[in-house]
Amino acid sequence: MLLGALLAGMLGAVAVPAWAHTPYRQWQVYRQRHLVIGASREDAESYPKAKELQAFLEEHLPDASARVARARTLQRLADLIATDQLRVLLLSLGDAEALMRGDDPFAYAVPDLRTLARFGDHVLCARTEFPDAHAWILAWTFAEHDRAGQPTDLPVPVHTGVELALAGEPMPPLPDDLEADASEEVEVPHRH
């Protein structure tokens, strides 16, 4: 349960500092207790791909408690990640680049967008504030099961936590408010 315990700690613990940015603190807690993957109706491929990803995570990272959120428009996804209401998006390569730059169809840029993993023509993205440890755990899990492609030659830079995982570096420390949830008996995984 090493990963499970870490993910259990990862979930929900950042609710307090983030809640002031959201209208419903309780809903914010839900969105952080689950790894909610944002997809969009405008990109018809993104939703079934996100559901596949959810199924994968349910099997290999069950404590991530992955869920999928399907927005009607790509702009809605931008609004949600820009206001901390969603933290992870599944976007096409082109949409991810457009969101980072603020190009059409997006009304503004999210310049700190980073890649967590690549799945064919889509990338899983988060902002830089997504903790390195969480990104590391996801990248480690995908790599361990050969689930994601190599995140090279991507228009959106790779998240620092992913870089560390793929370089075989140990997992970065959890954010301070998560340390209490990671008990001493938990082993920190290392990629072999």
């Binding site: 002031a20 603190r25 807690v29 969105r31 399907r70 009607r72 949600l80 206001t83």
Partner: protein, 422 residues
Amino acid sequence: MPTTFRALLPLILTIALAAAFTARADTTDSKWATEVVIAKQGDHCADDPSCMNRLHPAIPPVAHANPGDIITMGTRDALDSDLTLDSIADDMAALDLNLVHPMTGPVHINGAKRGDALAVELLAIDPDQYGYTLIVPGFGFLRDLYTESYIVNWKLTARGAVSDQMPGITVPYEAFPGSIGVLPGEPEVQAWKAREAALAEAGGIALAPQPIGGLPAAVCGPEGSHAADCLRTIPPRENGGNMDVQQMQVGTTLIFPCFVDGCGLFIGDVHYAQGDGEVSGTAIEIGAVVTVRASIIEGGGAGMVAPQVSGNDEIRDIEPTRFHQTVGLPLKAAGEVPIYVTYLESEKIGALENLSEDLTLAARHALIQMIDYIQAEHGLTREQAYILASVAVDLRVGQVVDVPNYVVTAVLNLDVFDKYRN
């Protein structure tokens, strides 16, 4: 008859008849009151210059009306959503909560002054054809027990609401504005903001101003003139707003204290039907066209603390003709700390099985029994039962004297089941 005139006669008759029917086609053209119409524009509040989702006295009026005018407002659903009949639970987590609640207005009532009261008579509500009820994770009265998203899409007519996801059920049409009120004044904004900040500081659930998504953007958006002071529409306050009181039916008159000149009337968040309690956090949420008429009670706001309502037989008309009722007491399991008191950090509450004079716990006790009954007796799933409770179960105070066990009951309107109706 001259030849020329004979030749033109059909044309003349056509023009004459057309003119006659245009001028007096039927009763439509016979008017006795001035109508102020504020129609919806665009898909969302952000597209509509008559829509706002924050409250502040600096928000300019979108229309002016005289006392006695018929005011018709197109309103949006509570979440300013893009949900549709084919929406699924995964669509819910992508809702932008910064857009809650879109309100139509404010309407300046000519002649009204701060210190007056505004009497608003509800004349009509014309619902959209689609509505939804949600279980929102982390939200609602039993949010600790219902942690997953769930959505019921309703097809609406003037007879009732039906859903493929709720077979055998027709919820009667008993619409009312979930949110209706008047603008706060500057003193109220500062006082309410301060008290809510104090509550939040103590760990309670209170929402600070949020400029992101705030409308109108010129006043309440990130670059708005009063971005830090625009109040969220989620809590009802002394100016009304998101009261969610189902007795505010068509035919009743709502009376609001006015805090600004012109009062600043706004309406939105119409509920097609709702039980007392709205326990899942949502009713049958709809957009609608709402028609009202306002009058001024000079100086009437001075003695008012909060809105009041007067009516005739409207409450009787929404009562069930048959019902089932559960009785709730302030009882719980030892070790359980009810979610609504966790912020008080009391060391006493957890160990007790019986709390004193606690209506909220009694309501929870009654509701959980009711959900069990609906599942066992009517074969609904626990999610369907919670949804049904939100739209057709009334939580009612039985008594607040028989210490320690105050009583709240849950009353299910059995008329919603098609098996009991002709």
